[in-house]
Symmetry: D2
Subunit: 159 residues, 4 copies
Amino acid sequence: MMDKKLIAVIGGGQSSNEESKVAEKVGRLLARNGVILVCGGLGGVMKAACRGASAEGGMTIGILPGDNRRAANRYVQIPIVTGMGFARNVVVVKSAQAVIAIGGSYGTLSEIAYALQYGIPVIGLNTWSLSKNGQPDSSIILAQSPEDAVDLAISLTAV
Amino acid sequence: MMDKKLIAVIGGGQSSNEESKVAEKVGRLLARNGVILVCGGLGGVMKAACRGASAEGGMTIGILPGDNRRAANRYVQIPIVTGMGFARNVVVVKSAQAVIAIGGSYGTLSEIAYALQYGIPVIGLNTWSLSKNGQPDSSIILAQSPEDAVDLAISLTAV
Amino acid sequence: MMDKKLIAVIGGGQSSNEESKVAEKVGRLLARNGVILVCGGLGGVMKAACRGASAEGGMTIGILPGDNRRAANRYVQIPIVTGMGFARNVVVVKSAQAVIAIGGSYGTLSEIAYALQYGIPVIGLNTWSLSKNGQPDSSIILAQSPEDAVDLAISLTAV
Amino acid sequence: MMDKKLIAVIGGGQSSNEESKVAEKVGRLLARNGVILVCGGLGGVMKAACRGASAEGGMTIGILPGDNRRAANRYVQIPIVTGMGFARNVVVVKSAQAVIAIGGSYGTLSEIAYALQYGIPVIGLNTWSLSKNGQPDSSIILAQSPEDAVDLAISLTAV
């Protein structure tokens, strides 16, 4: 098996300019480190991350919710078509050895939850924070910058 | 189509005594109101809720992650076998018209996230609370008691 | 766990008059035998089987491919909403202890294949027949009538 | 989007020597034609096809049923981890623009059925043949050799 790492970038299908910049930078850094980028294949954070990775010659995989490979953003090199709706979120997460969450809405939250459930490291950039019964849950590892997020993700990648 | 409501009870596969009491009470109240209980079919909160519903003659459905119907708790009357692992969490949530979350770990969090993503009301009893970028997200409707939770769930059930 | 058997009726979402008659009869006979009917929840054979079961006071479960419980035929008492497209075929089959196939197209064929893969008995009424490399595969048990199909299904139901 | 074609090779997780030779040859030919190979990621026909593609420098994707990327055969370059059991068969098929079936058992039959249901061309090499109510169904396009199969698959790939 090829020894490349797969790291997921998750976040909203619509994103602010700031989130897009961060995602693109994360994509670039993953590619420069020889990491394969896996994501949900659509717009917003996913598209920006794929654009960054592609610009550096990296490989990008999009795990699509719908039935049509053409729904993938143009920077997805390998579209995986599930037809399973948001149940595809499980596949995005399980295929990755670490997850970088950028902003995001409830779909992203479901992916964070799945990753934590499976023991896959989650690095957060301005994303959800969690608490239960008033106690903060610090399982999401907070990163200060795209560089920090990528360094953390690579170092925490399960071997 | 039979006009009965389906409401999901979600929560950990292992539960504290207090959580089990709450879940059993929620199950009883759902059954008394003619609601069909849907859950993940396993132990902890799921089992306690099914026990409560069964004691009142209510109907219980367990959407199982594994391959074996025998994994259902003994109070599940209709085991649905998915073999899809935690991707079954999507099915638990989507089959319900409202969701009551009791305690719970990351699996429960993924179900809360899915429900919010799909616009299905989530009522919480000592469960997760969420914030993003320091802003609290108040989408989970807080209940004070099992009675309160069931009243809210029934009244918020999408028609 | 309630000791009722679950048996799936599978077949096309559009059906001939003859297929509908057969499916309705199968539904009636399952209900009279106290069996819970599980199916894909839509029209054609599925609807006719549910209609027959309902007419005899039986219980009917529809495992739906889409996002909307309202897509279930009117004789489905418990709609299970998967949002997973035809991946829901796996759930229809795995939830059943035996499968009765009536006519059907490729979706039905995928369900037959899954059932055989999992070792769940398949009883056929004018449905697909299979061969591999010129050798007939006789795993589908041929029934001569609705009565015969239901008798076979009940007797072959895994304990 | 990268303009490479994705073609699935499906077949048994255990294969005869003859089937393995055929599958390896198919893998080689796909790679030489710049096609990305997608498969179920395990042994038998899947492994042989990946070995052939890898030997020619082609790219191989394995859509795994289980939870562990290490279950992929050693020639899978990109393991996609679904954790969904055989529901992953849907993803193998839907991600491909054409499908080549080599031998195979019921899992392969379910993939053939899904492909035909979705209108994805299926090319067969000594695999299942189908009939319904005594009428042969000729939807599976019969190939005479690996070369023939790959030529057909590429020419029939939906644009």
